[in-house]
Every structure is written in C-alpha cells, then in structure tokens.
C-alpha cells in the first residue's frame, strides 16, 4: 500500500468557539457562560472553567458549581454567522482555507510560509490579523497533515511548529481520545492502549482485521501519516451589502434615500446568482456605537423599494429607544434566500393573493409596519389580549396558546366592540353611590346607574361578579378583577370590569 506523503498544514484553532460566538453576538464579555446542547456543556468560558465547569457536564451540575453561570442554548447558525468575518480575514491573508468546523480552519502551509518568511511567522501573521476582531485566544499549529497540525494547535501557546518528520514523536504521548472515534476510544484503553504512540506501534494488518478500513485510517493518523489533503473552499459570493455615511446622517428619510443604490446593488447581487431574498437582516450602526438589528420577513420576496421601506421603518421604530445619534453605516444581509425561478411573475397574470399583498404593502409603506395588521386569536382571559394583531407579512407569534382551558374567558356571544385601552366608567347604585365588590365578592349595592363619559344610563339588567385572577405569583404581571355584564335602558349592553382598586372599566360593548 502506498501512502501519499502528508503535506505541510497550518491549522488555526479558536478554543471554545460557541461561547466566543455568543459573546461576539451579544457583547457580554465578563460573565461566566456555558453553551449547552442536549443538556450537556459543549463549550464554556474561562471564568466558568475556573469555577469548575467542565465539558460534558449536565447543565444542572454546571450551574451548581457556578451559580452565576449564563446558560446559553447551542445555536450552530450563530457559530457560523460569527465565524464568517474571521474566515474572511484569514482568506484575505492566505488563500485556500478549509473550514473543518466553526472555530477550526486548515490551510496549506507552503504558500504563506514562503510569503511571510517561515511557518511560525506565517502563523503569527494570521493570528495578528484576527486579534483586530477582538478574538484574542487563537492558536496555530503547523505540522505534516491536518490531524497532526490540529493536535499541534491544541498543544500550542499560541503557536507550535512540528518540524517535518517529527509527527510520530509529537503524537505519541497524546491520549487516544484525540482520535475522536467513539468505538476506539472506549475499547483501546480497556486493552491497555492509552496513548496514540501505543496504537501507532500496533501491526497495521491486525488493526485492519479488527477495525476495518476506518481503523486503518485512524492508525495512520496516530502514526502521523495523515494523507488527507487540505480541501480549500471556494469563497461564496458576498451577498451582504453595506453603505457608509460620511458625514453621518441624522434623518431617517436621508438614510433611506442614501441607501437606495446599495439596496438595488443588494437585490442585483442576489439576482446575479439566481437568488431572491425572502428574509432580510437590517443592521444600523450609529456614531456612538449603538446598533439596531432586526430580521424582516416578506411573504414573497424583497425588491429594492421593499428593502428601503424596511430600513426606514426600522429607523423610525428604533429612533425613540435604541438609536440616539447619527447613523454611520447600514448593512443589509440576506437571512433566507430562494431560487429566483420560484418568484418570477406568471405569464398569465398573478393570483389574487399576490395583488392583495401588493396593495397591503403599499398601505404599509404609507403608514409604517404596524399600520396594517391581521388579527389572530390567541389564549388569555381578557378580550384585548386574546386578539393578537400581527403586522402584515410578519410571522404570527401568539404569546399564549389558544388550546388551554383559560378559566374566566367568556363564551359567545362576544362584544363586537373591544376597547384597545379600557374605558373609564362608573357604576352607581340607586342613591348615586359607587358600587363596590368586597373581599367576599358581595356587592355594596345594586347597580342602578351606569356613567359613560357624560352620559348617565339606567341599568336594565346586570349579571356578575365573575372573578378573574391571574398570575398571583408574579407581582408585576398579576391582574385581578370582577367582570359584569350590564344592559342599559337605551338598548346597549356592556362588559365591565371592577378592578382590585375599586375602579370600574368598560372592556367591551355589545352593539
């Protein structure tokens, strides 16, 4: 059997990448954090490690070791997304990069070594470039073959170069677990083989008999004869676009107008690779470092005008709270794309839903995203919180599921008029004294008059009280009250609420 000689490889490794990615995304640098997948720690920060958090621990155990631990759900998309800028930097410094996984890349060492005047110098140059992004703890390893170089990077501080031909000697003392194979790493230590070196000295034929081709491959890796070549990726075309404003712009309209060309380029760039954008991330950066970020959906696909609308809406929405200074940069990123063929206008006109969408989008661009809404019915006890208004083209998110019992919610017929903000009313007894409900749900008097605004109506019938109490355990969100139905003598009927403070409110009107 002829084994191809391993090529010299340079591996860059960023330890605990999932935690670093979360920190880059949220800008929370000093808290102990651990990323959890399937209830096990898959990555933890140095602070957490100092407190005793280890990889593979169950999340509850990790939290008991370090009570202030921030537990973060694993998100491979976040890892990829945050790794992309690093990858771009590495690719700028040296071409032909293979991404093994987010946080671990390999490249052929020969080119960079000649350019930078040595393997160690090349590794140092690549790491120095990445330091600018705020990721300081990168490691680099240079050795024969990707596997050996990766092990060198793991042993590095921060750079380690294994000279050609010394791979076997370097790998020999490392534990067998480094092979990353479940079957071998559990079996071999029980056979007394605990080091890579021990495994490498075994007879290749016997390894083949016992473990098959996969075993032979791992055997070659352990011996430092990694024949895998680096398979560089083709950098994808840059689909995201950004526009810088110099001097920074103050008005939303100015920003929207100045982003127009960029939005058109963005759409054209996608169209050039036969794609359309169906989900768009708009990021706005300001002079003082504030950042507003939001993902916008589109029921069909974005065109340049729709992109500009989203930029303007986002600026208007965040002008009050997030953004307090002039805008220096707007970035447009496609979050989800689709083949352009699915979105070409039909030859014989478009469906009626398409037309409805265009009309509603037009109204939306007049009034803002919250101007046009579709109602959805969710769970809850109060009429106002049951009807959820979803902005047109947004994904409906019901805060509470409808399918629960919701004791205290009302049966049909329901009021056709539901006041978005409860209206202040007053209920008086025959003597003109306000009716109250005491702690035993007894009324202090018979409701005889209903005061709505300036009108004073006589009641023609009433029912109640029906107590509604929710979230008694949560001081901030707890709500309690008694509901009443009251019919007045003019033929109106009201749904009233008597709250815990003794006030009367109209929740809805039957009309």
């Amino acid at each position: 059997m002829t084994v191809a000689t391993p090529t010299r490889c340079l591996v860059l490794w960023f330890p605990e990448w999932p935690v670093t990615a979360w920190r880059l995304a949220t800008d929370a640098w000093d808290v102990p954090a651990a990323v959890i997948a399937a209830n096990e720690v898959i990555s933890c920060s140095a602070e957490a490690r100092a407190e005793g958090v280890r990889l593979g621990q169950r999340s509850r155990e990790a939290q008991s070791r370090c009570p202030q631990l921030r537990v973060i759900a694993s998100d491979p998309a976040r890892d990829e997304h945050e790794f992309a800028p690093l990858l771009t930097l590495v690719e700028q410094a040296a071409p032909g990069v293979q991404v093994i996984r987010p946080g671990l890349v390999a490249l052929r060492a020969r080119g960079p070594a000649r350019y930078y005047g040595g393997e160690a110098q090349a590794a140092a140059a690549l790491l120095a470039g990445i330091d600018e992004l705020g990721v300081a703890d990168g490691r680099a390893g240079v050795a024969d073959g990707v596997f050996t170089a990766e092990q060198a990077a793991r042993e590095a501080d921060p750079i380690r170069v294994i000279p050609g031909g010394e791979s076997a000697a370097f790998l020999a003392p490392l534990p067998i677990g480094r092979l990353g194979d479940q079957e071998l790493t559990s079996l071999l230590p029980r056979l007394g083989v605990r080091r890579l070196g021990d495994f490498a000295t075994m007879d290749a034929g016997q390894v083949r008999d016992r473990f098959g081709d996969r075993g032979v491959r791992l055997h070659a890796l352990a011996a430092g004869a990694d024949s895998r070549p680096v398979q560089p990726r083709t950098p994808p075309p840059e689909l995201a676009r950004q526009v810088e404003f110099e001097p920074p712009l103050e008005l939303a309209e100015q920003v929207a107008f100045s982003s127009r060309t960029t939005a058109e380029e963005f759409i054209a760039g996608l169209a050039a690779v036969n794609l359309v954008c169906t989900e768009l991330r708009v990021m706005v950066f300001t002079e003082q470092g504030e950042r507003s970020e939001r993902v916008w959906l589109h029921p069909s696909c974005f065109d340049a005008a729709a992109v500009i609308d989203r930029v303007r809406w986002q600026l208007q929405a965040s002008a009050t709270d997030v953004i307090g200074s002039a805008v220096v940069r707007v970035r447009l990123e496609p979050v989800a794309v689709d083949a352009i063929a699915h979105h070409t206008p039909g030859l014989f006109g478009q469906g009626s839903d398409e037309k409805v969408h265009h009309a509603l989008s037009r109204v939306q661009s007049m009034l803002g995203p919250e101007g046009v809404v579709t109602p959805a019915i969710g769970g809850g006890r109060w009429l106002g919180e049951r009807q959820v208004l979803v902005a047109w083209s947004d994904r409906p998110a019901l805060p509470q599921p409808l399918g629960r019992p919701w004791p205290g919610s009302l049966p049909d017929p329901l009021p056709a008029t539901v006041f978005p903000d409860r209206r202040k009313v007053d209920v008086l007894d025959a003597d003109g004294v306000r009716v109250r409900v005491d702690d035993r749900l007894l009324l202090t008097g018979e409701p005889a008059q209903l005061v709505v605004g300036a009108a004073r109506l006589r009641t023609a019938g009433w029912a109640g009280p029906w107590p509604v109490a929710e979230r008694g355990w949560d001081a901030e969100r707890a709500r309690a009250g008694c509901r009443f139905q009251v019919a007045d003598d003019t033929g109106g009927a009201w749904l009233l609420v008597h709250d815990a403070d003794g006030g009367w409110w109209a929740e809805g009107r039957y009309d």
């Binding site: 009034l367 046009v372 049966p411």
Partner: protein, 226 residues
Amino acid sequence: MSVRVAEPASRSLLLQQLRAKTQARIQQVTDVHPALAGLLPDGGLRPGCAYQVSGGALLLALLAEPSTAGSWCSVVGIPEFGAEAARSAGVTLERLALVPNPGQRWLSVVAALSEVMGVVAVRPPGRVGPADANRLAARMREHGCVLLACGEWPRTEASLSLGRPQWFGLGEGHGYLTGREVEVTARTRHGLTRTTRLVLPDRRGRLAESRGPVAVDQPVELQAVG
C-alpha cells in the same frame, strides 16, 4: 401600426357588448345573509356602492358572508374592532386586514384597498366631500368593491340602522347575555324603507331570523372549563 376604426355596424355591436358587460357587472351582487337580503335594494351588496351601517354586530354580519365566500375584507379606522366576535360571526380572519389608525391619509388607504378587497369597512374620521366619494366610487366600481361606512357618507345606496333592541338572558344579578332581538331598518337611496326584526347576535354570535322571544329566552347552558 395603424389604428383600426370601427365600422358603424360593428360600433353598435360593440356598444351592445359593452352594455351587456356592464349589466352583468351590475347584476353581480355580493351575497349577504338571507335575512338581510330582503332589506337591500338588489338583494345583496352591489359592487361599487356604499352602504351606511350602524352597530358593530351588523357590520360583522355583513362581512361574514363575503368573507366566507372567499373575498378579502378590510376594516379601516376602527381600532376597537372585536376580532374574536368577528370570528364567531363567520368572518375568516386569514382574509381580514385591519388598518386601525389610518390617520389623515385614510382616504388614500381606502382607495388603495378598494382595488383588491371585496368589502372595505371604514369609519370616516370627519365629513366626506361628495367629490372624494365620487372618485372613490368610480374606483370601487372598476374593481368590484363594496364600501360599508360606519358613519356619515354622501350618497349611499342604502343605510342600515338598528332600533328597539331587546337583550335576553340578563336578570337582576344573574344570567348571561344570550342574544338580542333588534329591528333592522334599511332606507334606500330612493327613500324606500324596509324593516325586519332579527336576532343579532344570537347565542353563537351570529345573525339569525327572529322566531319569537320564546326561542331566545332559554336558560344558559353552563360549560365546564378549567
């Protein structure tokens, strides 16, 4: 390319065709609940026409039938629209668009929506000029849209109002509303007035024909929840 001039014979033919087309368009009324059909001049809502409606339950009853039939409906300028009552009344919420606060540009909003919607309900925030109403009517006629105005509107085809309501189910401190009997009066453009007594809403929140007070005034069935 030369423009072909119509011959006198074919011109009359063309005129005839156009007339037939317009007639067909006009006769194509949007269906309403059978109980309301008898009140309205054409037995339904005529595309391109405006109707004045009072009362939220009546509006829902008028929206229900076209919405079930597959039309898109929208409600402009009514922030207190009860969506859950609309669903009970038979309005399909997936084909309902609300514009709760259109502000000053409400007329342009209605004009934009009238191009695609089957029915647009609007509460005008102020007086509507006849010129604006005419422009909008022309647009609605072109696209076959019905306007339901919850407020003053010039030159409506018919105006529907409620009178002599009577609620059932409420006692003095007990009961639950089970329905309302009410007189629905339609006054057409030509001054004709028709009145009928209906149950609106009934026990399920829908519109029903009145079958006398006995049918309505039954005790409430309690449903176990929780």
